[in-house]
């Protein structure tokens, strides 16, 4: 998906260098001001997109961070006589701090996403506006900046503002591209689709969101600082109006929020459109036209112009991909030997994971009632039990999805119980979901690359991540689907994608939650063969399953749960003959 992108920053810089000569062409000041506005909106829309487009946290609070920048510069330059240029870094910094403080609180509340996050950030804008209006920062009448000297960067004043906005836009686009192409960008796109799954792959979602938020706010604050002097008279009513957040959303949605360049394209179009109507008496028409454009965009290209144009996405890859299941099985077999050096199974004695008294209750209902389980290095441990016996809860607690109510988990001698899921993933524990949870908008390859880059393998660059991901797609026989979207896979392939993601993080322990459930008998045989190979290449496997013949064939030992308690453990054949186990599974036989 990221082919040839290193050209992008060079293109941005070349375009910026070319545009920087413009003020010396002595165009009428009016054109410079129009171009200033285009660049101003490019900064605002692109910075908004860093958090809201990439990570899917739609913010309506962009006016607040922009306004924080405006009033920082207005206060420092207007009241404390700071040189204008010196106020800009402070404006960016104050806005970033505001974002960090807000994010530090909001990102801890799991359900504040989507429209709730949008409303919350909008409310923050109005609270900030009210505070500024009622304190000496503004005080009511607004702040005049006519006396603040404009630095002489360009031949004229309007040229100076144009150059400042050009510099800010260049910086913003470089940051947007940099994040897009980096590990952070992949993390943001992953958590956009499924935050829990991203955590389990090792993505520190909280930190990633905070970083994106701070960057986004800092750039908006910078734009605000410049704009304060451009308009030279600032009022809370204008600065914190609902227009700023709604316009940036409109621009980004129109251009495309899943690409670094989308908001810039939208900003250019909308600013141009508004300008075309401000000439003459048609300002009213302009407002209506923008509304109509927004409606058309939402209805007919909800993913934006860039997605519509098909410049990116999965179109091309999909065309290459189709091949029957038979072809895939053949390729899976062909690649069976191309897997990483397979270490022979270690003697099953050393304890890899030690759970003691592990319990989890939900409002008093004990799903897991204090179990002791040892997982030994190199074994395949079957975890079985009737529905509701606590198997999935065990996996959820060990992988960090739930915080245990009591008890401890030691992994390779380190206490991991209660750690955030991404720390546990980093430590070397991977899991699959019973119902596959792929990142819906990422390609199959990127789905696996997330795990490769953030799991215990912890790779730095996208290139390394892609290479590692390709290896695991080959291991699971999915390499022909690399460019496809998860929605194009059948259940069997999605289950294998889950496995590929779990393996790409190079875990020492893999927790498999009912991987066979829903598969046909022949698909099951493939899966069983694959699980053997997972163990053979060095990972320890905990295997939760209902399909008994697979459990008997695969496992070295089994552990039986019943009603949240450990009922039996040992070698599979003998455990299954125990009367208590038979009762739990088949019910009591009464005459």
């Amino acid at each position: 998906v990221k082919r040839g992108l290193p050209l992008a920053p060079l293109g941005i810089l070349a375009a910026a260098a070319l545009l920087a000569t413009l003020p010396w062409l002595r165009l009428p000041a009016f054109y410079e001001s129009l171009l200033y506005l285009v660049l101003h909106w490019i900064v605002l829309a692109t910075s908004w997109n860093l958090l809201s487009g990439y990570a899917g946290y739609f913010s309506f609070g962009h006016g607040a961070y922009f306004g924080a920048g405006v009033y920082t510069t207005a206060t420092l330059a207007g009241k404390f006589d700071w040189p204008f240029l010196a106020t800009l870094p402070v404006a960016a910094g104050i806005a970033a701090l505001l974002g960090l403080a807000l994010g530090a609180v909001v990102f801890r509340v799991r359900r504040v996403r989507g429209e709730l996050f949008a409303l919350l950030t909008l409310a923050v804008t109005f609270v900030l506006a009210t505070i500024i209006l009622n304190t000496p920062i503004d005080g009511g009448p607004g702040v005049y900046l006519n006396a603040v000297p404009v630095p002489g960067l360009g031949p004229t004043q309007s040229g100076t503002f144009y150059l400042l906005a050009l510099a800010a836009a260049t910086l913003t686009l470089l940051v947007a591209w940099g994040v897009y192409a980096s590990k952070l960008g992949l993390a943001l796109f992953a958590l956009h689709d499924d935050e829990d799954a991203a955590e389990v792959m090792g993505v520190p979602t909280y930190g990633c969101k905070l970083a994106a938020f701070a960057l986004s706010c800092a750039l908006a604050g910078l734009a605000g600082g410049i704009h304060a002097l451009f308009i030279s008279y600032v009022t809370t009513g204008e600065v914190f109006s609902i227009t700023v957040p709604l316009t940036v959303v409109l621009m980004s949605v129109l251009g495309g929020t899943r690409h670094w360049a989308g908001p810039a394209i939208g900003a250019t179009l909308i600013t141009g459109l508004l300008y075309a109507f401000t000439a003459g008496d048609a300002a009213v028409l302009g407002k209506a036209a923008v509304g109509a454009v927004l409606i058309a965009a939402i209805l007919f290209m909800p993913n934006g112009i860039l997605a519509r144009a098909g410049r990116y996405g999965t179109g091309r890859a999909k065309a290459l991909a189709p091949s029957g299941p038979a072809a895939e099985r053949a390729s899976a077999l062909a690649h069976a030997d191309a897997t990483p050096a397979s270490t022979p199974p270690v003697r099953a004695s050393e304890v890899l994971l030690r759970a003691r008294g592990l319990a989890k209750s939900f409002r008093g209902l004990a799903a897991l009632g204090g179990v002791n389980v040892d997982v030994r290095r190199g074994e395949i441990l079957g975890l079985i039990g009737p529905n509701g016996s606590g198997k999935s809860t065990f996996i959820n607690v060990v992988s960090g999805h739930y915080v245990p109510t009591a008890g401890s988990v030691e992994f390779e001698g380190r206490a991991v119980a209660g750690l955030p899921a991404h720390r546990i993933a980093r430590a070397g524990i991977a899991r699959t979901y019973q119902i596959p949870r792929p990142f819906a908008h990422l390609s199959v390859l990127d789905n696996v690359a997330v795990a490769a880059m953030f799991g215990s393998a912890n790779l730095r660059t996208r290139a390394e991540g892609t290479r590692e991901a390709m290896k695991w797609l080959a291991f699971t026989g999915l390499e022909t689907k690399a460019g496809a979207r998860p929605e194009d896979l059948n259940l069997h392939q999605r289950k294998f994608l889950e496995l590929a993601r779990a393996l790409a993080s190079r875990p020492r322990l893999v927790l498999l939650d009912e991987v066979l459930c829903g598969l046909t008998p022949s698909e099951m045989n493939d899966a069983v063969a694959l699980i053997r190979r997972i163990r053979d290449q060095g990972a320890t496997v905990v295997f939760v399953e209902h399909v008994m013949h697979a459990v008997m064939a695969l496992t070295d030992r089994i552990v039986v749960f019943d009603q949240g308690q450990l009922l039996a453990e040992g070698e599979a054949q003998s455990v299954m003959r125990q009367p208590a186990v038979m009762t739990a599974y088949l019910g009591r036989a009464h005459a």
Binding site: V105, V109, G114, G291, A292
Partner: protein, 285 residues
């Protein structure tokens, strides 16, 4: 900060109840379509203002009694809302996209209002505007009282319909789980159109109350968004009585804040409330 007299405070509380009932009336239709159709209809405010301007036109120029205009604007806006829903239902809109789309629609309606009635302030001079009576020390203005009565009556009606009629039950079931409700014979399309029409008609009633009590300008459309959203979320999405109760709570706390400090501090009450609701019980929204 000096404490106002008891009379002034009581008068503040009373005016808070009145303004709060308008918040509730505006929030009623908004919360219904949000909670039951998963559509966040920002154009609700634009419709209310459009209805207010129509009421202004009919009574200032046409000489009708402002309350009689209800007989025209309510069916007209029901049809408008229903037609809009019939169109929107053809597209699978996420709540967020519905917010953006209706923002676009709001821009168009705002431009339309500005084109017909200009951006200047308009004030409906009706015979109601001068009427007020006294209860003890307190003044009770009639237009505000009309708003309160309408808000209470309509909220109770909607509550009863949702709770006791088949259509109401079907709507609540479809909001809970649309595919399952459809499997039990609920027609989501017809109910959606009905609800959207009702919600838009409620916006029209709120618009008439707006015209009775406030000075109108197209830019004022956005002034109501934040506080009414706060009332809807505090009251609970899809709830019939919630927005009214929450609106009055917000209205009274704003009015008291204004009386105790300065009027410009008023917005902080509703928005701080909204932030707290979102952070402390996001599941409710």
């Amino acid at each position: 900060m000096n404490l106002p007299s008891l009379t002034l405070l009581s008068q503040s509380v009373l005016s808070g109840i009145f303004i709060g009932s308008l918040y509730g009336l505006l929030g009623l239709g908004l919360g219904l379509s949000w909670g039951l159709l998963r559509l966040i209809n920002l154009a609700h405010f634009a419709f209310a203002f459009l209805a207010a301007y129509v009421c202004y036109q009919l009574s200032s120029v046409g000489g009708m009694d402002p309350l009689v205009t209800l007989a025209i604007v309510v069916p007209a806006f029901f049809a408008l809302g229903a037609a809009l829903q019939a169109l929107m239902a053809r597209f699978a809109l996420t709540p967020l996209n519905s917010l953006l789309l209706t923002f676009g629609l709001t821009g168009i309606v705002e431009a339309l209002i500005q084109w017909i009635w200009t951006a200047d302030f308009r004030r409906l001079e009706s015979h109601y505007a001068q009427q007020k009576f006294r209860i003890g020390e307190l003044f009770v203005p009639v237009p505000e009282l009309v708003t309160l009565v309408l808000a209470v009556a309509l909220s109770l009606c909607v509550w009863a319909v949702l709770r006791f009629t088949d259509v109401g039950k079907a709507l609540r079931a479809a909001a809970e789980d649309a595919p399952v409700a459809a499997a039990f014979g609920v027609n989501p399309r017809r109910n959606g159109i009905l609800l959207a029409g009702t919600s838009s008609a409620l916006a029209a009633v709120a618009g008439v109350c707006l015209a009775l009590t406030f000075t109108l300008a197209p830019s004022q459309i956005y002034a109501w968004v934040g506080v009414v959203f706060a009332a809807v979320m505090l009251g609970g999405l899809g709830s019939a009585l919630g927005p009214l109760v929450a609106g009055i709570v917000i209205g009274v706390s704003e009015a008291v804040t204004m009386a105790v400090t300065a009027p410009s501090w008023a917005p902080i009450v509703s928005f701080t409330l909204l932030i707290l609701i979102l952070l402390l019980r996001p599941g409710k929204a």
